[in-house]
């Protein structure tokens, strides 16, 4: 699978609520990079977004702080995105491009900021 395929998937909570489309994958680069291991770039969460262009600018994830006017506007949009832990994924429906979670809406909804 490619990330362009992953970005086609929609994410659904356990109770069937549609959370949105995958817009990014959070990657943890843990441990030393060793040849032959793929553990180096582990995806730990998916960003489910509704921010559009705002998500590419990285006002929250990239911690860009200025200029004020853009920061206020795009942070607001980006904040609408949610983060879904990979460990919360129950099953993949590759036909319908859907990801179903074990968690229900309230537990699944987490935002980019604490």
């Amino acid at each position: 699978m490619r990330i362009s395929d992953l970005l086609e998937y929609t994410v659904h909570a356990a109770d069937g609520t549609r959370l949105g489309k995958v817009s990014d994958a959070r990657v943890i680069q843990d441990g030393p990079v060793l040849a032959g291991t793929q553990a180096a770039f582990r995806i730990d969460a998916l960003v489910v977004g509704r921010g559009g262009l705002a998500e590419r600018l990285g006002y929250i994830r990239g911690r860009v702080e200025g200029p004020w006017i853009l920061c206020a506007f795009f942070s607001r949009l980006e904040r609408r995105a949610q983060v879904v832990a990979v460990t919360d994924i129950a099953r993949w429906d590759d036909e319908a491009h859907e990801i179903h979670l074990t968690a229900d809406v309230d537990r699944a909804r987490r935002t980019l900021e604490p």
Binding site: L57, E65, P67, W68, I69, L70
Partner: protein
Amino acid sequence: MKKVLGVALGVLTAIGGFVDMGDLVANAATGARFDMNLAWVVVVGVIGIVVYAEMSGRVAALCGRPVFDLVRERLGPRFGLANLLASFFINMLTLTAEIAGVALSLSLVSSVNYLFLIPFVALLVWLVCWRMSFVMMERVFGLLGLCLIVFAVAVWKIGPDWNQLLSGSTHPHVPHSETLFTYAYFGIALFGAAMTPYEVFFFSSGAVEDGWTSKDLGENKINVLVGFPLGGALSLAIMASTHLLLAPRHISVDQLSQVALPVASAVGRLGLAVVIIGIFAATFGAALETSLSAGYVVAQYLGWPWGKRDAPRTATRFHVVIMIAIFGAAVFGLSGIDPVKVTEYSIVLSAAALPLTYFPILVIANDARYVGPDHTNGRFLNAVASVYLIILLLVAIATIPLMIITKGGA
């Protein structure tokens, strides 16, 4: 001492390189038609290009990445592609205008119809792109472009009432023979001429080619902060010369030869010679910059090797794009379109397209991951840059409707 000389040379090059076909035509035409009522736009445009160029120069120096490289990264491949197509198209119009400008300036000394000169000029432009070193190219044409200072000499020789000239510039109004629409349209043309995007593509790519690092930031700032405003002053001298000499005679500027007329009339034969050398250098230098920019934008979007510092064989596709661009512009120029009209459309559309590249640079200049935590935009710069983002958006929205309402400024 050597350092000071280097900085001085950089500033002089920036002044001489500021003016191109767009500035010549836009300033001369508005001076003759609107007197000094649009002079303030040049000031606004110059501040804009200073802000834009400083940011892109800083980003290029600190992360080694020029403007168009970052456009795709920030805007995504799809929007980036649309951006690339628009920028490439406008750049082609500008390149056509510059090549025609070189041919026209040569025709004024040789009596040969400029259309016959276009293939020759195109070949010459390509040869310089192919062989001449980057630094040499920048210096030669930038310094020769300083000949345009003769416009200031012309204004001084005409001996205007300076107070009147100043108050005419600082108390702008729409002349009663004109509508608000034509006034705004010419304003946009002037703005686009001062703030052309290709200058920034070239400037930031050049910074990477010259291998700028954080140590060169000071020089970047001086070049931009001193060179560009003085280049803008040169533009105002062009405007003043046609305002003083052509406007009272009801002459409207629609030929490049008319741009030189105030200088010939006020300074004489030598002045005419100097101004034509200046026009030649300014348009030729800009033809080189736009040719290279065509290669830069495509190569940077697609991640190809690019650059003219090393031999062409190290950046082959980049050089092929340049060849195609020059060839295409020459064919377009030969089709008999009016070079002055092409120039006008190229600067107006440039103005409309500015937000597309300005916006990602503004974001990245604030992104510590690119420029480091110590070199992000300061508070003041961000305030000014935000105001300009709004101005650019307004201009972009207004351009096409104004173009239609005024029938291209007729």
